[in-house]
């Protein structure tokens, strides 16, 4: 909401600098986007009059203007008229325009110097409104694409004056951020109220006294109003103004519109916009010629009813759209936009002025459905005070009289079936102080509330305040609302800064701890953490080749995604991690080791999907291979105290290399899968060529959390020495290390302490399809020192069983 301080000052006495005003307004709850000094940096621009125009001999589009600038000429050592060459085509002899003289500076930093344009002397520049700092969208059409043509009546006697002074443009514009609970602040008056309360000043409302000089009759004899849908239209106030002369508005009115971001159109439209800005109440004016039987009917549209709005767009309405009709047709979409069929035209003589109050939800729905958002709809959908209609309507009519745009008929038609009344709120003094942590006296609270135009009465026992707000403060409904009002005007900066004393103990969930452990460990192991979007493309599960009947295809779909590529919630993290690898690989990064921890979402057709925390791993480059990845995973398991996890060979997971994939199994529980990424999958992510291989995996953090147990009981240190035996076995390739280890462990009895593989050998010496595995077996007893015979008994038996079960032959070491 743009607010010129000069306009604000009309209602409140502002005796501090604009920057201080801004500071204080921020602290009382009116946050500020920007504070701008209009015309800052502009100098040397004066009001001038074009006395004659001739064509430039050497150009089709240049004009040579002789410009009278009064005393300003002599001040810079020139004589009137000053010759200025312009390319603008909207100039004419007699036009009054802003003139940048030799030495002038404009808002964009441009400095004007005398010179020659194609051989003709040009001693300055005729200015557009944009060059004086206005946005294109607020410049009157007559001056939009050319020089700013000023109203002759108002500026003919100001030739030679500084333009910014003459135009009263030395102003500060504050852009307030209005929160959705305060639609009343979408107006200069609303901000004036806030200013008055903040500065402790009185507010003076514009006084409205109508002359009602029209001789065209009584309003209520002519205008008929019916509200057929009272639930959607709380009130409708109509007045009539006759003897309308459509013309340009006076500069003071245009200036205020332009400084608040609106383009002046003509006097009637400008007045309705002016009142919209001043009071925050939308106003519509109809040309009475087009209102059949001078009968306004507030009703809903018919299904598929076509209606042309005043922007010449054909709109298709339905029975939810509130429509202002006459006895034959629709004339305006209520609260949103008028109809082309009844708009004010240059020859309009008599108008109906509408100030009505419509249901917020209805306006919002219509605005959204039709895709029309106007200054009016923006205010109606947030809520406008129904008790303001008559005043706003009178204000419009008074301005019509004031600027001589027309004459107002006596009386008004006001349909207001159910009057809106403000709630009575009890605020307990002790409660206010308890919430704020203050000791504000009751009398001060009353003063604060009164400064906000809230009727406040202290009870006899001085413990309660009966607060009755004005109806424009629809946000004030209950005690806590009053507490906030007291707090913000008292000043949050005046509240203390304390720490609440309590007896709460801190707890952290196991899942949070596990994730912390994982992050610490994995980064120590050289992996970096990625964070990626939780929503992905449905095709991600195809890219990593998840089978058709897999639960991970049961994806949660968004109704309104930003695009197909973000349309479903991920059921698996791996594709995101692979995309991270892809991006780094394509950017020429030789080595990337990543992990991600995040939620997956499976649609189980319950109200909410199943969210499960996963850990994904994705690595390429460096000397990473399957066993490097396995080492990382083993560290993870060790750090979390998840023991005895088996790595089971998997040959049919289509995401991974069929010979290099393992699932992590503990009992019946599958914790996850790791492996070398299938070359086809890697290629589909563009990570291929030059021998690059991708190692990846995904584990369930939720399962790891359940299994995690890092507590260890003390084990007595061994009293007796251990003895070890190394064995070397020649076996077929398909005998796994795990096969042999499990035989050894199963038959080691009480004395086998440890078994460890220390070498695998493949080579021509031992033949194709064979390998030699060497294990070291450690024996120890807690009862005494083992003898060779004790060990031999167990050890020989182990060897025998290995030979029987795997067909291994023992090799000499």
């Amino acid at each position: 909401m743009l607010v010129p301080v000069s306009w604000l000052s009309q209602y409140v006495d502002i005796d501090i600098a604009p920057t201080e005003l801004a500071e204080r307004m921020i602290l009382s709850g009116s946050n500020i986007e920007t504070v701008e000094t209009f015309g800052e940096g502009i100098s040397g621009v004066v009001i001038g009059k074009i006395t004659s125009i001739t064509k430039h001999g050497d150009s089709d589009h240049l004009l040579i203007c002789q410009v009278e600038v009064g005393a300003a000429a002599a001040a810079i050592g020139f004589e009137n008229p000053i010759q200025i060459v312009t390319g603008a085509q909207n100039v004419f002899e007699g036009a009054i325009v802003p003139v940048a003289l030799h030495g002038a500076k404009l808002s964009d930093g441009l400095k004007i110097k005398k010179g020659k344009l194609r051989g003709e002397v040009s001693n300055g520049m005729l200015c557009s409104a944009a060059e004086l700092g206005f946005d294109d969208k607020v410049i009157p059409f007559v001056s939009k694409d050319g020089i700013w043509i000023l109203n002759e009546d108002e500026f003919a006697d100001k030739i030679g004056q500084d333009a910014l002074d003459a135009l009263e443009l030395r102003d500060t514009i504050i852009d307030f951020e209005i929160t959705p609970n305060r639609p009343d602040c979408l107006s200069i008056i609303g901000m004036a109220r806030e200013t008055a309360a903040t500065l402790g000043k009185e507010i003076s409302y514009p006084e409205v006294s109508l002359k009602e000089e029209s001789t065209a009759g009584q309003t209520d004899d002519i205008l008929k109003i019916d509200i057929n849908k009272p639930e959607l239209c709380r009130r409708y106030v109509g007045r009539i103004a006759s003897d309308i002369t459509i013309a340009q508005s006076p500069w003071w009115l245009q200036r205020r519109l332009m400084l608040t971001g609106m383009r002046p159109i003509n006097n009637i439209v400008d007045i309705t916009n002016y009142v919209l800005l001043e009071l925050g109440h939308p106003i519509h004016a109809f040309d009475i010629r087009q209102i059949a039987d001078q009968h306004i009917i507030v009703d809903t549209a018919a299904k598929d009813e076509h209606f042309t709005t005043l922007d010449s767009q054909d709109r298709i309405l339905d029975e939810d759209v509130l429509l202002i009709k006459d006895s034959q047709k629709g004339v305006a979409i209520a609260g949103v936009m008028g109809g082309e069929n009844s708009e004010v035209l240059d020859d309009t003589q008599t108008i109906i002025v509408e100030a009505a109050n419509f249901n917020e939800d209805s306006i919002r729905k219509t605005s959204k459905k039709l895709g029309i958002r106007t200054e009016a709809s923006a205010r109606y959908e947030k809520g406008v005070d129904a008790n303001l209609c008559a005043y706003a309507n009178d204000r419009v009519c008074a301005l019509i009289e004031e600027i001589g745009a027309g004459k107002v008929l006596s009386g008004r038609v006001d349909h207001y079936p159910t009057r809106v009344i403000a709630p009575e709120i009890i605020a307990r003094v002790a409660r206010v102080n308890a919430v704020l942590g203050t000791q504000i006296p009751a009398s001060e609270m009353v003063t604060i509330l009164e400064s906000l135009e809230i009727e406040a009465t202290l009870s006899e026992n001085k413990q309660e305040i009966l607060a009755i707000p004005q109806t424009f403060r629809g946000d004030l409904k209950e005690e806590v609302d009053i507490i906030e009002e007291v707090g913000r005007i008292y000043g949050y900066e005046n509240l203390g800064m304390t720490l609440h004393k309590d007896h709460v103990t801190v707890s952290v969930s196991k899942s949070w701890q596990v994730r912390g452990t994982l992050r610490n460990l994995l980064t120590d192991l050289g992996l970096s953490e990625s964070t990626t979007y939780s929503f992905v493309s449905p095709s991600t599960v195809d890219r990593v080749r998840i089978p058709a009947d897999d639960i991970r295809r049961s994806m949660v779909r968004l109704i309104n995604p930003l695009g197909e590529e973000n349309s479903v919630m991920r059921t698996v993290l791996l594709p995101n991690t692979l995309e991270v690898l892809e991006r780094n690989y394509k950017r020429g990064i030789a080595e990337a080791h990543f992990f991600e921890i995040g939620n997956t979402f499976i649609d189980l057709h319950d109200k909410l999907p199943k969210e499960e925390q996963h850990l994904s791993l994705g690595l390429y480059g460096g000397d990473i291979d399957f066993f490097g990845l396995k080492g990382i995973v083993l560290q993870v398991l060790t750090a979390l105290g998840v023991d005895d996890v088996a790595f089971v060979q998997v040959t049919d997971d289509s995401t991974y290399h069929p010979g290099r994939c393992a699932k992590l199994v503990l009992g019946d529980t599958v914790i996850g899968t790791i492996g070398e990424l299938h070359p086809d999958v890697a290629e589909s992510y563009g990570i291929s060529g030059s021998g690059v291989r991708v190692y990846a995996g995904e584990l369930s953090v939720d399962i790891l959390t359940q299994l995690s147990d890092t507590f260890h009981m003390y084990q007595p240190l061994p009293k007796y020495p251990s003895t070890s035996r190394d064995i070397s076995l020649l076996v077929d390739e398909d005998v796994s290390v795990a096969d042999v280890e499990s035989i050894i462990k199963a038959n080691g009895g009480q004395i086998l302490e440890d078994v460890a593989l220390f070498d695998i050998y493949r080579g021509t010496q031992i033949g194709e399809g064979k390998k030699s595995m060497s294990f070291s077996l450690t024996y120890r007893s807690s009862e005494g020192t083992l003898t060779d015979e004790d060990v031999a008994k167990v050890h020989e038996n182990i060897l025998k069983i290995i030979e029987e079960k795997t067909g291994a032959t023992l090799r000499e070491i």
Binding site: I26, D481, L495, M497, D502, T523, E529, I559, I589
Partner: protein, 339 residues
């Protein structure tokens, strides 16, 4: 015999002096003092002498042996030191050569920031609690006192799964879940992912992170809220930071405020980080609205509370001077490795 001992002693002295390394000294030790050494031989031959002669000569021989032992021992020490000096000279390195690469990974900047925030609040006694990312409309909006027509509910603002479920737009629904499941006193923070239907650009992301905080107990005041968050700002951004609380509007708190902080870069003079204002908006906060407490069945006469929420990306961007929010989700190692 005496003569021979003297000669041996002299020749041993000479040889030991000229020996260059430990090995040749050891050879000399063996030659004189070993089992078959010359001094040993003399000592052995003495058993054939007369007792008085043996006594005199024995003393002489033993003296010679001790002298040679000492000489050898000190010669060995000298040789050892000399050998070390040679080795050290040969092994000298240029310590300014580059280090061996030891690769440590990096936690994501968002994680680092969440951990930093969490630790500050943990030090004040806040526990961590979390909630689902797919939420019900009830928990995300209704229970948080959002008006039925509040614009944030629109499809243009919020990602919906069904009419009743959505991707949470804030971590505040965890407040509701906590109020429903826990009895006061409640003192928690809740970090997590949030989602809003914003197209990605330098300052917007459809996914981002928040840290929510909630304290509900008897006698909690707005002054407590100010004190807590002022403490947080000073811990997070430096002890010199000054905070400012501006009235604001949130449906689920009242009174509500936004906390600004004096710019930690320029100290409030105005710079690029604070866009010249000297102040930086850090978080939203307020006293928990009674309507929200009531959803959790909490006696609003007995208990009051405050809540706050902050954007993690925003804080990380401010603190580290990151200018584009999209960098967080690209995970380019050249970015990741900077922090």
């Amino acid at each position: 015999m005496q003569q021979k001992i003297s000669e041996l002693l002299d020749s041993a002295k000479l040889q030991i002096e000229s020996a260059k390394d430990e090995a040749s000294i050891e050879q000399l030790r063996v030659a004189y003092l070993g089992k078959k050494g010359e001094i040993t031989a003399i000592l052995k031959s003495m058993k054939d002498l007369a007792p008085e002669e043996r006594k005199a000569l024995g003393a002489k021989a033993n003296e010679a042996r001790a002298t040679i032992e000492n000489l050898i021992s000190s010669a060995k020490d000298t040789a050892k030191e000399a050998a070390k000096s040679i080795r050290f000279a040969a092994e000298k390195i240029d310590v300014t050569e580059p280090a061996k690469a030891i690769s440590l990974g990096k936690k994501h900047m968002i994680t680092q920031t969440i951990e930093e925030i969490s630790e500050i609040f943990a030090s004040m006694g806040y526990s961590v609690t979390e909630g689902p990312e797919v939420e019900t409309v009830f928990h995300n909006f209704d229970a948080l006192n959002a008006a039925p027509n509040h614009p944030s509910r629109d499809l243009t603002d919020t990602f919906y799964i069904t009419e009743d479920t959505l991707l949470r737009t804030q971590t505040s629904p965890v407040q509701v879940r906590t109020l429903q499941s826990t009895k006061p006193p409640i003192k928690v923070i809740s970090p997590g992912r949030c989602f809003r239907a914003d197209s990605p650009d330098a300052t917007h992301s459809p996914m981002f992170h928040q840290v929510e905080g909630l304290l509900v107990d008897e006698g909690v005041t707005m002054a407590d809220l100010k004190g807590t968050l002022d403490y947080f700002a000073k811990k997070m951004f430096g002890a010199d930071v000054v905070t400012k609380f501006r009235p604001h509007f949130f449906p689920f708190t009242e009174p509500s405020a936004e906390m600004d902080m004096s710019c930690f870069k320029c100290g409030g003079k105005g710079c690029r980080v604070c866009k010249g204002s000297g102040w930086i908006e850090i978080l939203g906060c307020g006293m928990v609205h009674p309507n929200v407490l009531e959803v959790g069945g909490i006696d609003t006469e007995k208990y009051t509370g405050f809540a706050f929420g902050m954007g993690v990306e925003r804080i990380a961007m401010l603190k580290h001077g990151i200018e584009d929010i999209r960098l967080f989700y690209e995970n380019d190692l050249r970015f990741v490795n900077q922090f």
